[in-house]
């Protein structure tokens, strides 16, 4: 939890007024919208369009900054072997995102790290610079949420530019960043918080496993039958990774016809057999057990060692979407038990 730069109280109706104002200014506003039973971030013109109840969106927040597919270069192919090519601008219109969940916002921190730890990715960076995130505390969780075990829980404000804590007659707004301050100027009827406002209680997500102990077990169990047991039921699709708010692997492909074409960046996934396959036929991760192990190790060990934070925020999407019924919480609980057994016998 971070200390806000500023705290404001607003009465009910503040959001409707804010969206109206932003739309009049011509600002792009994205918010969770329900369509055919699925809630996803879509452009809205009015706060009425927002989903009334949602635990989280189906597609994670990451897609706003790191789309499933984007053009990164264009070329045309006249005759004579000369190719003319040029870069493209990231589609980065100023955007206000309303209604993001704390887990997904925490995941943006992971993406910030990846896309900037060394080289600064311009496509990601331009969108990031032009996007303001209004996070909302979760009043409800479902059985698959586990942010309490890996991240700050349902009331975590880190990652938001403005964080909303609903109250009985409005909301307490925590202004977290400069971008948030700028947005707050468009919020009518905001008064400085007196400090006695009572936010409605947030969803409880109890701690179900100990991430430190899990890391300890992973350190010592690269080779273990556990990985076979875990991986046999995995079908090797990309649903868990594509809908994971922190997974960031991508592919770069050319698509063209005889006139020319484009180079695209697409989501990719370490569960696919072809992900690491060399043209020679050699595959450093040749079976599903090594691929499942890499995915888990990456989130709970490699990323921690490299960047000092976990690459899992407990949103639970991988559990909800897995066609094989794989459940990462159960896997992590099993690791916790295995860890207890090894440390007990030592």
């Amino acid at each position: 939890m971070k200390e806000p730069e500023q705290k404001l109280v607003v009465p009910n109706g503040w959001l409707e007024a804010l969206v109206r104002k932003l739309r009049v200014q011509g600002t792009r506003v994205l918010a969770p919208v329900e369509r055919d039973g699925a809630v996803d971030f879509r452009e809205i013109n009015s706060a009425d369009e927002m989903a009334a109840n949602y635990v989280n969106t189906r597609v994670p927040l990451k897609e706003i900054l790191f789309p499933r597919t984007e053009t990164i270069l264009e070329f045309d192919q006249p005759s004579g072997g000369d190719v003319v090519f040029s870069g493209v601008e990231a589609n980065a219109a100023p955007t206000i995102v309303i209604g993001a969940r704390p887990c997904d916002l925490s995941a943006i921190g992971v993406l910030d790290t990846v896309f900037n730890w060394d080289y600064h990715d311009t496509f990601y960076g331009q969108r990031r610079a032009n996007t303001t995130f209004v996070g909302v505390a979760c009043r409800e969780a479902d059985g698959n949420c586990f942010c309490g075990s890996v991240a700050g829980g349902a009331g975590e404000n880190e990652g938001s530019d403005v964080f909303v804590r609903p109250t009985a007659d409005g909301a307490l707004l925590e202004i977290m960043t400069e971008r948030g301050k700028k947005l707050a100027q468009s919020i009518d009827d905001a008064a400085p918080a007196a400090g006695k406002e009572e936010p409605l209680p947030v969803a409880a997500t109890e701690e179900r496993f100990d991430v430190e102990k899990i890391k300890g077990w992973l350190d010592d169990h690269f080779d273990d039958d556990f990985w076979l047991d875990v991986s046999l039921k995995c079908l090797g699709c990309g649903a868990c990774s594509y809908l994971c708010p922190t997974c960031h692997c991508f592919d770069i492909v050319d698509e063209s016809d005889w006139r020319g074409g484009e180079r695209r960046r697409n989501w990719d996934c370490c569960s696919f057999a072809l992900f690491t396959l060399h043209t020679s036929g050699h595959n450093p991760r040749p079976d599903q057990q090594s691929r499942c192990r890499n995915r888990l190790m990456h989130k709970f060990k490699y990323f921690v060692e490299r960047f000092g934070r976990r690459a899992c925020v407990g949103c639970g999407r991988c559990i909800r979407v897995c066609g094989a019924g794989q459940n990462i919480v159960n896997v992590l609980i099993d690791i916790t038990r295995a860890e207890a057994a090894t440390s007990g016998s030592a």
């Binding site: 499933r68 597919t69 699709c237 649903a239 594509y242 979407v321 459940n327």
Partner: protein, 283 residues
């Protein structure tokens, strides 16, 4: 149901004890909610993880294609009647040899709550040609109207269908869950993964998504047994089963054929007979 579970465990233990098989692929409850997912019993004590109930909707036949599972040795597999049809196709296509497989059939009066669509129109409640069968024979006639939803789609104009599918397939993220869960998608290198030449664009834009989903359906024509797993696992809720169903309907009408009813059937698109195919071709 508890009785069936006990019978299954006993059978599985017997098979593993006698080393008749090296593993039993079945269902078992996992996690807090007891969701029935695949269980791989490799040791006699593992059979306690096995179970059977009305939530065993998954089609486990897909696991017989996975090299990691094949590596475990000779399998026994728990199948419902619909899943048994998938085995027939795999045997007919020489993916599996019947004698390399121990089949534990379960008579089934439908799965899911509410009852899954496929179960209403099911004509194979009692799997045939199994090594063991659990449960009482089921007498349950198939309802009419199996292809009603396809019929409704056919009533729409071309423009309306284009709008519908552009919207739905535009959502596809190319996670390939549909392919990975399909027992018939066993190609070592899927056509979408072949890049010399690049047959299908891999980007998740409408053009690539249309190519992918149409070619997927074409490859399943006359082979899809309608288990509906592709549609169930689609994270974007695309009604891909409807495309398969349209082709299943066509195959039924044109060739009076349904896939996977026996293991020596001749599929309409994998058969060539000089006496029947009398069209003058290009030669």
């Amino acid at each position: 149901m508890q009785e069936l579970t006990a019978q299954l465990r006993e059978k599985a233990k017997e098979l593993l004890d006698a080393k008749t098989v090296d593993l039993v692929i079945g269902y078992g409850p996992t996690g807090d909610n007891g969701e029935m997912t695949a269980v791989f019993a490799r040791k006699p004590e593992d059979v306690e993880k096995l179970g059977l109930n009305g939530q065993c909707f998954r089609n486990l036949a897909v696991y017989l294609n996975k090299p990691e599972v094949r590596k475990q040795g000779k399998p026994a597999i728990v199948v419902k009647g619909c899943d048994r049809r998938a085995l027939n196709v795999l045997i007919r296509e020489r993916r599996l040899a019947r004698e390399d497989l121990h089949i534990i059939g379960v008579n089934c009066d439908g799965v899911g709550e509410p009852l899954m669509g496929k179960c209403k129109f099911c004509s194979v409640h009692n799997p045939e040609e199994c090594d063991d069968v659990l449960g009482d024979q089921i007498e349950m006639p198939a309802e009419d109207g199996q292809f009603d939803d396809v019929g409704e789609m056919e009533q729409l104009s071309g423009d309306e269908r284009w709008k519908f599918w552009s919207e739905k397939l535009g959502e596809c993220i190319r996670c390939y869950a549909c392919r990975q869960v399909c027992p018939m998608c066993y190609c070592k290198r899927c056509v979408v993964e072949k890049n010399i030449p690049q047959w299908v664009e891999t980007s998740p834009h409408l053009r690539g998504n249309l190519s992918w989903n149409v070619i997927r359906a074409f490859h399943l024509t006359g082979r899809c047994i309608g288990c509906g797993e592709c549609e169930r696992v689609c994270p974007m809720a695309i009604p891909i089963g409807l495309i398969n169903k349209k082709l299943t309907k066509l195959v039924k009408e044109e060739f009076q054929f349904a896939a996977g009813m026996t293991d020596d059937e001749k599929g309409p698109f994998s058969t060539f007979d000089l006496d029947i195919d009398t069209d003058k071709g290009i030669l």
